[in-house]
C-alpha cells in the first residue's frame, strides 16, 4: 500500500513527469504552477469548464481533481494542441468563425471538443451537446463556437485518413 507520498507521476502531454505536490493540491494549481498556464482558473468549482484537460481520453475539470488523482494517468492540456503557426483544425475553425472573443473559455472548449472527436464516431448534435455541456462562454452566445465545432467535425468526417495533429509539446 502506498502512503504519505508527496510526489505524483503522470504522463503530461506525452512526457512522463514527476512533480512535488501536497495531498490537497488541485491538479489545476499544479499545472499552472508548473507553467501550463493555458489551462485557466475560472470558477474553481466545476461549473465553467475553463480548466478542462483530458485525462485518459476523457475531459475533466482540473479544478475538481486533486493532483494525486492523476497518478499513473495520461493528462493532456491545451499546450498539446496546435501551435500558433500550425493550429489544430478546431483552432482554425474557431478563429475563422469569430468564436474567440475574450478567449478565456477557449482552452477548455478545445479540450472538450478534442475529447469528443477522439472518442466518438458519427457525432450527432445530441452527442456533441452532451460533451460540450460543461463549458460556459459569456461572450459569443455559443452559436459561433457551435458552427466551428460542427465544421471541424464535418471536416474530419470528410477526411477520415487525416488525423488532427496532436501538436507540439510544451
Amino acid at each position: 500500500m502506498k502512503t504519505a507520498v508527496n510526489t505524483v507521476s503522470f504522463t503530461l502531454n506525452g512526457e512522463k513527469k514527476t512533480f512535488s505536490t501536497r495531498p490537497d493540491e488541485k491538479l489545476l494549481d499544479l499545472l499552472r504552477r508548473e507553467g501550463y498556464k493555458g489551462t485557466k482558473y475560472g470558477c474553481g468549482q466545476g461549473t465553467c469548464g475553463a480548466c478542462t484537460v483530458i485525462m485518459d481520453g476523457r475531459a475533466v475539470y482540473a479544478c475538481l481533481l486533486y493532483a494525486m488523482q492523476a497518478e499513473g494517468r495520461k493528462v493532456r492540456t491545451i499546450e498539446s494542441m496546435g501551435t500558433h503557426d500550425k493550429p489544430a483544425p478546431i483552432q482554425q475553425e474557431l478563429v475563422a468563425a469569430g468564436a474567440v472573443q475574450c478567449g478565456y473559455c477557449i482552452p477548455g472548449i478545445i479540450m472538450s471538443a478534442t475529447a469528443l472527436m477522439e472518442a466518438e464516431k458519427d457525432i450527432t448534435d445530441e452527442v456533441a451537446r452532451e460533451y460540450m455541456d460543461g463549458n460556459l462562454c459569456r461572450c459569443t452566445g455559443y452559436e459561433k463556437i457551435w458552427v466551428a465545432l460542427r465544421k471541424t467535425i464535418d471536416r474530419a468526417a470528410a477526411e477520415p485518413a487525416k488525423k488532427a495533429p496532436k501538436g507540439g509539446k510544451k
Binding site: 500500500m1 502506498k2 502512503t3 504519505a4 507520498v5 495531498p23 490537497d24 488541485k26 468549482q45 466545476g46 461549473t47 469548464g49 478542462t52 485525462m55 476523457r58 475531459a59 475533466v60 475539470y61 479544478c63 475538481l64 481533481l65 486533486y66 494525486m68 488523482q69 497518478e71 472538450s112 451537446r129 452532451e130 460533451y131 460540450m132 455541456d133 460543461g134
Partner: protein, 281 residues
C-alpha cells in the same frame, strides 16, 4: 475539505482496515468531486478506492452489476436491450463531472438533490456492501436514512445491482432542472409492470424537492390494478402530497413545486408505461 495524506490501498480488505483504523480522520475517495465542497477544518486522510477494480458494468443473471467506482459517464454510455440507467445519468451535472463522479460517490452520502437514489429506489436495486465479506441490502433499507451511517466503521460500498427489466416491465424517469447542468428541482422515477393491460406492480420514487429521497406509496397503491392511462396517472399523482411534503425552493413556492412534482410523476409514469408496452420479451 482539507487533505493531509493520500493513501492508495491495493484491496478492499486493505481499504477497510485503513478506514477502520483512521475512523473519522479517514475518508474514502472515488471521484472525489464532492470533497471539494464538504466543510471541515480538520485535515483528513483520503483513501483512494479507484485502483481496486470497482469500475465495471456486468450483466449477471437477473441483474446488471455496476462497480461502485464506475464513473457516471460509463453508465451513460452503456447500452443493452434491458438497460435503462443511461437516461438519468446523461442528465446529471456536466460531461466533465460525469467522467469523474462515480455511482458510489453519488449514493454513499446522499445530498438532497441527488438523482440516482430516486432511480435506484424505483428500480428496486440491491446494494452490495463490503464489511469483511460481501453482503446485500435492498434499496428500501439502504435509503431508509442517510446511507453514510452504514460506512462509519470502514465498511465500503462494492457494487450496485440493478434488476434486468423483464417483459412488460417499463421504467421512466423525469428530472426537472433549470438547465442541463443544474441541480434537480424535482426528480421522479417510476417502474411499472403491466399484466393483461393493467398495472400489476408499481414503484414510484421522488427526490430533490423533499429533504430525502423516498417512495410514494399512496401513488403506487392508486395505480394497482388500473389500466395505464393519463387519467389514472393524474389521479395517482394527485395523491403524492400524502407521502411527501414538497419544499419551496429558490424562486418557487411549495405549491408550485407540488404542481411540478405532480406533472413530473405523470410524465414518468407515461414513459414507464410506453416502455412496458413496447417490451414483450
Amino acid at each position: 475539505m482539507k487533505l493531509c495524506e493520500f493513501i492508495r490501498p491495493e484491496s478492499l480488505a486493505q481499504a477497510r482496515a485503513v478506514l477502520r483504523k483512521l475512523g473519522p480522520k479517514g475518508l474514502p475517495l472515488a471521484g472525489g468531486t464532492a470533497l471539494h465542497f464538504m466543510p471541515g477544518k480538520v485535515p483528513v486522510t483520503a483513501v483512494d478506492l479507484t485502483g481496486l477494480g470497482l469500475s465495471y458494468i456486468r450483466h449477471k443473471g437477473a441483474f446488471f452489476e455496476i462497480g461502485a467506482a464506475t464513473p457516471l459517464s460509463d453508465i451513460q454510455r452503456h447500452r443493452g436491450p434491458r438497460w435503462a440507467m443511461h437516461e438519468i445519468c446523461r442528465r446529471i451535472s456536466t460531461h466533465q463531472i460525469r467522467n469523474v463522479s462515480t455511482i458510489g460517490g453519488n449514493i454513499c452520502r446522499v445530498f438532497p438533490w441527488a438523482d440516482l437514489p430516486v432511480v435506484l429506489l424505483a428500480m428496486n436495486a440491491r446494494l452490495v456492501i463490503y464489511s469483511g465479506k460481501l453482503k446485500e441490502m435492498g434499496a428500501d433499507e439502504y435509503f431508509s436514512s442517510q446511507p453514510a451511517r452504514l460506512f462509519r466503521g470502514g465498511d465500503l460500498l462494492a457494487a450496485v445491482k440493478i434488476p434486468v427489466l423483464k417483459a412488460h416491465h417499463g421504467f421512466g424517469s423525469v428530472k426537472a432542472a433549470r438547465n442541463a447542468a443544474a441541480f434537480s428541482m424535482v426528480t421522479i422515477a417510476a417502474l411499472l409492470e403491466l399484466k393483461d393491460g393493467r398495472i400489476a406492480a408499481a414503484r414510484v420514487a421522488a427526490g430533490s424537492a423533499i429533504p430525502f429521497p423516498k417512495r410514494l406509496p399512496s401513488v403506487e397503491a392508486a395505480l394497482m390494478g388500473k389500466e395505464p392511462s393519463a387519467e389514472v396517472f393524474r389521479a395517482a399523482a394527485s395523491l403524492a402530497g400524502n407521502d411527501a411534503k414538497w419544499c419551496k425552493q429558490e424562486g418557487m413556492s411549495a405549491e408550485y413545486v407540488a404542481n411540478l412534482a405532480e406533472v413530473s410523476i405523470v410524465d414518468a409514469l407515461e414513459r414507464a408505461a410506453e416502455f412496458a408496452r413496447g417490451r414483450t420479451e
